[in-house]
Point group: C2
Chain length 308, copies 2
């Protein structure tokens, strides 16, 4: 009997990616739907179930040839019990027993986890953090999230709410943050904060892609915005470096596309602000798996869950 395949889903604030992977994590098919089309929680759940059935039929598979469905979601998840606590950027989700609901609808084992944790799991198992024992893998976007690998495993703590690098305060006082705190890293370097700063400096709407393009072409105003992002990110990472002395820090997500300018400033800040031994040990790396990291992580989650 051939090895089973896995269905992986990456649910974001703007779209849902659904893929079929084999046991070697090779992607056999992939499709993308807009999350915005589903106004209700029930509509979105029905669409996930339908998409899974479509993937199975379009690939001429039987359910018995699938080992399970893994889903990454943008919010705090009880991974053990398969419950979505809430989704900050998708209204209407609160304490949803998604694993139970979907297993009933689909008839296959379902595993859930936070998207940043799955990205970290993927980068650790087959990406930039491979071979490291202790690592922090960040995703920069509207939110600034991370997954923490400690002693070769995703570190969840008792609450499963770990790795919240976006909510490390970088000043005693500062801008209000969505989390209820203030002066959190995300309030300075989340996409919205960067776009706002860019608008005020350029006196017009300007996209992150344009901002990266301008900075790389030598525009000083654009470069300064990215340098500030890198310096503040480096500052929060110095706290992680001094506390945990990780082997590597992997940076991915949209904002990371600013590339060299950003990474240079992050590294410089860590050398300036973190302690010598830890700062010299840690490697600052670009994520290796790109935008499919979440799908790989979801597939790995299923494989681990089925084996356990």
């Amino acid at each position: 009997m051939p090895l089973k395949k896995t269905i992986a889903i990456d649910l974001g604030g703007t779209n849902i990616k659904i893929a079929l992977l084999d046991h070697n994590l090779k992607i056999w098919s992939k499709s993308v739907l807009s999350t915005r089309n589903f106004f209700s929680k029930a509509g979105l759940i029905a669409q996930i179930a339908d998409s899974v059935k479509t993937v199975i039929s379009e690939n001429n598979l039987k359910k018995t040839e699938i080992n399970g469905v893994g889903i990454g979601l943008p919010g705090p998840i009880d991974a053990k019990n398969g419950i979505v606590h809430f989704l900050p950027n998708i209204p209407g989700w609160k304490e949803v027993k998604l694993k139970l609901i979907l297993e009933h609808k689909i008839g296959l084992p379902v595993f859930l986890d936070n998207d940043a944790k799955l990205m970290a799991l993927a980068e650790y198992k087959k990406g930039a953090a491979k071979g490291s024992r202790n690592a922090l893998c960040l995703t920069l976007g509207t939110g600034v999230g991370a997954g923490l690998i400690i002693n070769g495993e995703i570190f969840r703590g008792f609450t499963n709410a770990t790795g919240e690098i976006g909510h490390l305060p970088i000043n005693e006082y500062g801008p209000k943050c969505n989390c209820g705190g203030q002066a959190c890293l995300e309030a300075y370097i989340g996409n919205n904060a960067i776009l706002k700063e860019a608008k005020s400096k350029f006196h017009k709407q300007i996209s992150l892609e344009e901002l990266s393009y301008l900075a790389n072409k030598g525009d000083k105003k654009a470069a300064d915005i990215w340098k500030n992002v890198g310096r503040r990110l480096g500052l929060a990472l110095s706290a992680v470096v001094n506390l945990l002395s990780p082997d590597c820090i992997v940076i991915g997500g949209g904002v990371a596309n600013a590339g060299k300018i950003l990474f240079k400033e992050v590294k410089k800040t860590i050398l300036e602000r973190a302690m010598r031994v830890q700062a010299r040990h840690v490697k600052i790396l670009s994520a290796a798996l790109g935008s499919d990291a979440g799908l790989f992580g979801a597939a790995i989650l299923v494989n681990q869950g089925v084996e356990a």
Copy 2:
């Protein structure tokens, strides 16, 4: 044959404590020497060796009745190889193979570790953090250090330089720190920073004990100093809470004697600045073992080392 006893040594910037403990961690004898009497590294090492011999003879023991000597030191240590990298507050120590030197002089197994890590190990095994799986145990003093318990074990990372809570930056820019960074927590709430602030507010030298006494008597100036210490400590701890979601945080050391005022402000700040789920989960506790925590930790280190 009766169970063997252990010799534990806690080497501080101002004094050395030496104790004899049994397998139940009961202290049978304890003595204190001033570190200041030993101007040279060689003198201090000779004194440690002599003290061990004195403890053995004064208690009418034979070497075969001792399982080993555990030593906590105030600085970065390579615990695996028994090397002292350096001691920030005791000049002349750099890459000292103390384990090797002492085993040669004493003829007993010797184990070394950082004092904050040993305090954490003791609080975890028999103090305030007992029963927690993930904990941060802090010592407030001239330095602000901590030991991190992750999944029930001291977390060392690759470098063994972990738990450096005193060097979490709490502002983008701020006072210079001994570590080479700036705006580190220790630069605001280390003993010297507090004494300096007290002197400038009271226009005279004032000790930490007096400052605590005045604050507890209702003196507003003194209370405000402790509130600032608590708020800044709470801010740095909010970063740890958001990153690691520990079960408890144990606070000990001289400054912790300010008591209620300090703990109240720490708790308040964590509830204000950390994320809801993690902030509600974490317990903020006072250290249970007092100033002997380092000795207990050193004895536990020997017992673990001998068993391993």
